[in-house]
């Protein structure tokens, strides 16, 4: 009787420990995913967006930083987002909440193009 109670207690404790470990792993994975989804950066330099195509998970915030000597803008082709004129070292951020492809260009230099792919 005592032995079966002891074994049952061990079993319960094992289940509790394992459950805790799984929960912690799950929250770790979730927080890691949250971190992965949080930010991405696109540099504007030499009349080009770098990288030209960036792929991010849903919920990510993409930040464009103008490292060029010339002002640029970031304007969505489908008018989803548009920045003000960005001087050197100025930034513009947008959070993508829906999956899809978001082509954009610089409204001052329309041949400068890029794309954000949200998965």
């Amino acid at each position: 009787m005592r032995r079966s109670v002891f074994l049952a207690s061990l079993l319960v404790m094992a289940v509790m420990v394992l459950g805790g470990m799984v929960a912690e792993h799950g929250s770790f994975v979730a927080s890691a995913q949250e971190k992965a989804a949080s930010t991405a950066e696109v540099k504007i330099d030499n009349f080009a967006f770098g990288p030209t195509v960036i792929t991010v998970p849903v919920g990510s915030t993409v930040t464009w930083i103008n490292r060029d000597d010339i002002p640029h803008t970031v304007a969505s082709t489908e008018k989803v987002f548009k920045s003000k004129v960005l001087d050197t070292d100025e930034k513009f951020s947008y959070t993508f909440t829906k999956a899809g492809e978001y082509p954009y260009f610089c409204s001052i230099h329309p041949k400068m193009t890029g794309k954000v792919v949200v998965q």
Partner: protein, 140 residues
């Protein structure tokens, strides 16, 4: 369609070229006292004054429709100020030349040439900034 076409960048070359050529003719007319050269200067400056208007209008359109009329700063603001000054100087130079033509052969007021020289310098600076802004040289 118009949004992605650089109308201002194309049109601005007409008043620039006409004005600079007109100033050259004016200087030559001043030196040689030849009426024909002065007439050439007059028509070149007239053309520059006329073509300055669509250049200004397309520049304002680019500001309003490509940049949503945002408050300008830095190179863009400098380009706007210098471009506006250039337009005023073009019209002033033309107006003074109109009056000067009537006074031949008594002579031409020399200060006009100083004004035209300053206008060429300011237009050159405006165009230089415009070249930077338009990315005419592209990625290096």
């Amino acid at each position: 369609m118009l949004r992605k076409h650089a109308q201002h960048v194309v049109l601005i070359h007409f008043p620039l070229a006409l004005f600079i050529a007109g100033v050259v003719f004016d200087f030559l007319a001043q030196k040689t006292k030849k009426r024909g050269l002065l007439d050439a200067a007059y028509y070149h400056l007239l053309g520059a004054a006329i073509f300055a208007l669509p250049a200004v209008v397309t520049g304002i359109f680019a500001w309003q429709f490509q940049l949503d009329g945002q408050k300008l700063k830095g190179i863009l603001l400098m380009h706007l100020v210098l471009g506006s000054t250039s337009t005023i100087l073009i019209w002033m130079a033309w107006a003074l030349l109109v009056r000067a033509r009537r006074k031949l052969p008594e002579g031409l007021p020399v200060f006009r040439l100083g004004l035209e020289t300053a206008a060429v310098a300011i237009m050159g600076l405006t165009g230089h900034l415009g070249g930077f802004l338009s990315g005419v040289n592209g990625p290096s």
